[in-house]
């Protein structure tokens, strides 16, 4: 490693945790700000990915494969959420020709 990079070369647990924290925040703000339901779903994916990154970081810190095994369960939940969520979006679109969250504010068809 070159001397220039030696000072900032210690990439530890905190570095990854901070990236995960920022990623989670961007996802949360996007979920609140955007009105297109498809993009809101993408923001949920960002938040789930931030959680996965945290799991993998702690797995590395503890040298324990269980942390990585948990990621698979998060992954399955994300896949199920996308499948059902997109089906709901398609069903809503058939009825009212739009995917903006503000269009769907009544508890009736």
């Amino acid at each position: 490693m070159t001397p220039l990079l030696a000072g900032i070369g210690d990439i530890g647990r905190e570095h990854y945790l901070v990236v995960a924290a920022l990623l989670f925040t961007i996802g949360a703000v996007g979920l609140l700000v955007r009105r297109n339901t498809l993009i809101m779903f993408m923001c949920v994916e960002l938040m789930l990915n931030a959680v996965n990154l945290t799991f993998v970081t702690f797995a590395k810190a503890l040298d324990d494969a269980r942390g990585q095994a948990i990621v698979f369960f998060t992954l399955v939940v994300a896949a199920a959420e996308v499948a059902v969520g997109l089906a709901i979006i398609v069903a809503i679109f058939r009825r009212r020709q739009g995917v903006t969250a503000d269009d769907v504010d009544l508890l009736k068809g």
């Binding site: 490693m1 995960a20 920022l22 993009i39 590395k60 040298d63 095994a69 679109f93």
Partner: protein, 182 residues
Amino acid sequence: MDAVIFYAFSALVLTGAIGVVVFRHPVYAALSLVTTMIAIAVLFLAQDADLVAIVQIVVYASAITVLFLFVIMLLGVDQRETGPDPRRFQRGAAYLLGAIIAAEVLLLAGREWAIGTAPGDAPLDDAQGGNVRAVAKVLFTDYIWAVQVVSVMLVIAVVGAVVLARRSRQIAATREREGVPA
């Protein structure tokens, strides 16, 4: 080298994430999401999570994003959000809440964690089969019931998605009667 990889791909992760939120066009947002997913896979690789990194690319960067793009194209909603925001105060509230969330999670991330030590019976690298074997061993011994339950849940989700997305005959009949184009 570790530092270069970390900073380069962290920047890519965060740029892609901001792109998802900022792009008005849903297709651009989806492509931005792919960037983030692949960069996260590299961060996984940098932390000895080989299997998780590959699954991240196969499932997240490919399958889930293709599903998103497919629905965007199918519905023809590849346009900007229309009309003014009917609830203007929401935006300011969202940024305020975002700042609070950021402060909280950054505080948590920067803390010294009292995590103790792992039992040590499931190291990241199996001597015989590497990371893949280590993760598989944990999944199919300690977490075998969780795996079973989660697979049942996945089946239920797929069946539910088919039921929801199928065009119901009743609705179609009602629309025909009212003269609404299906």
